[in-house]
């Protein structure tokens, strides 16, 4: 395995930190991590109580998400995985908008069409619509990066994916093309130890994941994914190279999924307890907290304030989302094409008609309104 970039020691000291993030930014990063955790927590509760159907926990991987986001601009193009909403929060996405997605309601930007955790934002950042198939967003990130460059912009694309994602078709197509095109794209592999129940050692026989960069003629970097400063530095350097026209980079962030794959998964069936304990000691939030404390930027009071703020914000978001009605019947038929084709109009009208005749469906104003 290539050498691992690490900046924050277990005690919180970070001798090699060069001030790339100022004090305000550092605290803001920490706040985003807490916000991710708060959002996660409330979603777990909402799921357990049957208010939402599904969620995907982020515990353990917050430093990678937030570290990467903190290295990029909101004009850069984020191609996230389902475990990356911290990136959106960091650039100002509203928890309430995310909650609308978790509830799949009428205010959800995707009109409740997607499963929970499949977010999509065009502002305040370009956070590409998440889809469930693994790896498909990687070649898309390359195309978007190519397009930025072709239009003379210096925006980069970030493609974020898991250790499992490296085995997908999209990984190979994307890295190969990005290499040939010298596209301004950053491939962030979050090796969080697992792909559902498959340990990352069973995913590939290669010596780590960063080394896969060699197959595509690009630099490969391994970074301690539980170390926000290290991730920030690796992504910043990759972004600089990309903006300078020097092409793509593959970054492996070595981290750990501290919960189940999703709320549908029971990890106790296959995750060794010792392994979990070992990683619990490396908790990325605690690590960042210690670093901030060492710099005099953190104390219990701050912690309480931040926690309270985050908890209040996500609770308010959940409350609002829960009170928002579900999507109307017409949303089944819209957004398939820009213009509603006749056959879909007819299908919609029939659905409305049936609802009017036989009930059991919200027919809105009665006429199919599209």
């Amino acid at each position: 395995m290539t050498e691992t970039l690490k900046m924050i020691e277990a005690d919180g000291s970070a001798p090699s930190f060069n001030g790339a993030l100022d004090d305000k930014a550092l605290v803001y990063c920490y706040r985003t991590m807490l916000m991710v955790r708060a959002f996660d927590d409330i979603c777990m509760k909402l799921q357990r109580s049957g208010r939402i159907g599904f969620s995907i926990p982020n515990k353990g991987v917050e430093a990678t998400q937030v570290g990467a986001a903190s290295a990029l601009r909101s004009t850069d193009f984020f191609f996230p995985s389902y475990r990356d909403f911290g990136m959106a929060l960091h650039h100002g996405a509203e928890p309430v908008e995310m909650m609308h997605n978790m509830f799949g309601n009428a205010s959800d930007s995707a009109r409740g069409r997607q499963m929970p955790v499949h977010f999509s934002f065009t502002k305040p950042l370009r956070f590409f619509s998440i889809s469930s198939p693994i790896g498909t967003h990687l070649p898309q990130a390359v195309g978007a990066a190519f397009a930025s460059q072709a239009q003379g912009k210096d925006d980069v694309s970030l493609a974020s994916f898991g250790d499992g994602g490296t085995s997908s078709t999209g990984f190979h197509s994307a890295l190969n093309m990005a290499g040939v095109w010298k596209a301004p794209v950053i491939f962030l592999c979050q090796n969080n130890g697992w792909a559902i129940s498959l340990p990352s050692s069973g995913q590939t026989a290669s010596d780590g994941y960063a080394i896969k960069a060699k197959a595509y003629g690009m630099p490969g970097v391994t970074v301690d994914g539980n170390d926000l400063l290290a991730v920030n530095r690796a992504v910043s350097e990759a972004a600089e190279r990309a903006r300078a026209g020097e092409g793509p980079t593959l970054i492996e962030a070595f981290t750990y999924r501290m919960g189940g794959h999703s709320t549908s998964d029971d990890p106790t069936k296959y995750v060794p307890a010792e392994e979990l304990e070992k990683w619990a000691k490396k908790d990325p939030v605690l690590r960042m907290q210690r670093f901030l404390a060492q710099r005099g930027l953190w104390d219990e009071a701050l912690e309480e304030t931040l926690q309270a703020e985050c908890a209040a914000e996500v609770a308010a978001a959940a409350k609002e989302a829960q009170a928002t009605p579900g999507p109307t019947l017409e949303t089944i038929f819209s957004d398939v094409y820009e213009t509603l084709p006749n056959h879909l109009r007819r299908q919609g009208e029939q659905a409305f008609d049936l609802a009017a005749r036989k009930g059991d469906a919200d027919a809105g104003g009665g006429a199919f309104p599209l």
Binding site: G53, F54, G104, N105, R111, G112, R113, Q114, M115, H118, S131, S132, P133, I134, G135, G164, G165, S167, S168, T169, A195, I196, S197, L198, G202, Q203, T204, S264, D265, K269, Y270, G326, P327, L329, T331, I332, F333, V336, H343, L344, Q347, G348, A351, L354, R357, K358, D360, A361
Partner: protein
């Protein structure tokens, strides 16, 4: 006889065939120690060891491609695609390779293999955990496409699929995995591929359906009967090759036909049923051949119950053709 869920019947079939024939090899994502995300392969690694039931990297193309290679070299692979929605990276291996191998080699090489995968809606899975892609595969000569709708059939058809000399796509209606129970004999038995099942006899209207739509149609038929309409419900179960004679007989029997599936309508499997009738039995038809299907949109999440044909919609169509 044991009373099993459809999921247990699948699991039972795998156990049974793995005991019978050591060439049978099960693999896919999370099918090993975890037993599959739906637990269809639970217990197999424990009983048969890691060489015969194991996890693979996240690569559907690799899974199906390797299955073809195992099949041509003496094993009987039964691979799992975690959700049918994720089968598309393997589309090339299925359509270009498995399905065409016997033909292109003049029978020198063949691919006796099974691809199992849960399909369909009903679990609030949204666009990518709910799709019904049977029409993509039923349009592919060289493949067989099977969808059980009862525990008995699930076991018998899966065993038949494993024993079949050609590649079989075995689509499991995930909505019925746990909701449906039924009698399942112990030990090995098969249900012939290319046969339909009459789920209910009736003389007024014929309904063709498969998979998770079968219980929906049965319910609609029961309600229709209260209103005096006797509905004949046919579970197609082997979509390719289809028992076309049986389909035409059932259609002619009533002259009034409804075809039901979850998948989008346009170019869906139901179109083939309508077309068969329009070509071979049109003179027997006393009403339009109606389709009750998913809409021609991607599969939505919150409103999935509006998207999937329900008793209400099927009944409306039955009444419609009955009174035409």
């Amino acid at each position: 006889m044991a009373i099993l869920t459809l999921l247990q019947a699948v699991n039972d079939a795998l156990h049974t065939k793995m005991r019978d024939d050591e060439r049978v090899t099960v693999f896919g994502e999370d099918v090993g120690p975890k037993g599959g995300v739906f637990l269809a392969t639970e217990g197999l690694t424990r009983e048969f060891g890691e060489r015969r039931c194991f996890d693979t990297p996240l690569s559907e193309d690799g899974i199906v491609g390797a299955a073809v290679g195992m099949a041509v070299n003496g094993l009987l692979p039964v691979c799992e695609i975690q959700f049918q929605d994720f089968i598309f990276p393997a589309f090339d291996q299925i359509v270009s390779e498995a399905a065409k191998l016997r033909y292109r080699s003049g029978g020198q090489y063949t691919a006796p293999m099974v691809i199992r995968t849960p399909y369909g809606g009903g679990i609030r899975g949204g666009l990518y955990h709910s799709q019904s892609g049977e029409a993509y595969f039923a349009h592919t000569p060289g493949l067989k496409v099977v969808i059980p709708s009862t525990p008995y059939d699930a076991k018998g058809l899966l065993i038949a699929a494993i024993e079949d000399p050609d590649p079989v796509l075995f689509l499991e209606p995930k909505a019925l995995y746990r909701s449906l129970k039924g009698e399942v004999p112990e030990g090995s038995y098969t249900v012939d591929l290319s046969t339909v099942r009459t789920a209910r006899e009736g003389s007024d209207v014929t309904v063709f359906c498969y998979g998770a739509m079968v219980p929906v149609c049965e319910k609609a038929a029961a309600t229709a009967a209260e209103g005096g309409i006797e509905t004949h419900v046919v579970d197609l179960r082997t979509l390719l090759p289809l028992d076309e004679e049986a389909v035409l007989d059932a259609a002619k029997r009533t002259g009034r036909v409804v075809v039901v599936h979850e998948a989008p309508r346009f170019c869906g499997y139901g179109a083939e049923i309508s077309a068969l009738i329009a070509e071979n039995a049109i003179e027997y038809m006393e009403a339009p051949v109606r389709r009750v299907t998913g809409f021609d949109t991607p599969f939505p999440n919150t409103l999935e119950h509006h998207y999937m044909p329900d008793e209400r919609r099927v009944l409306d169509a039955i009444e419609g053709v009955a009174s035409f």
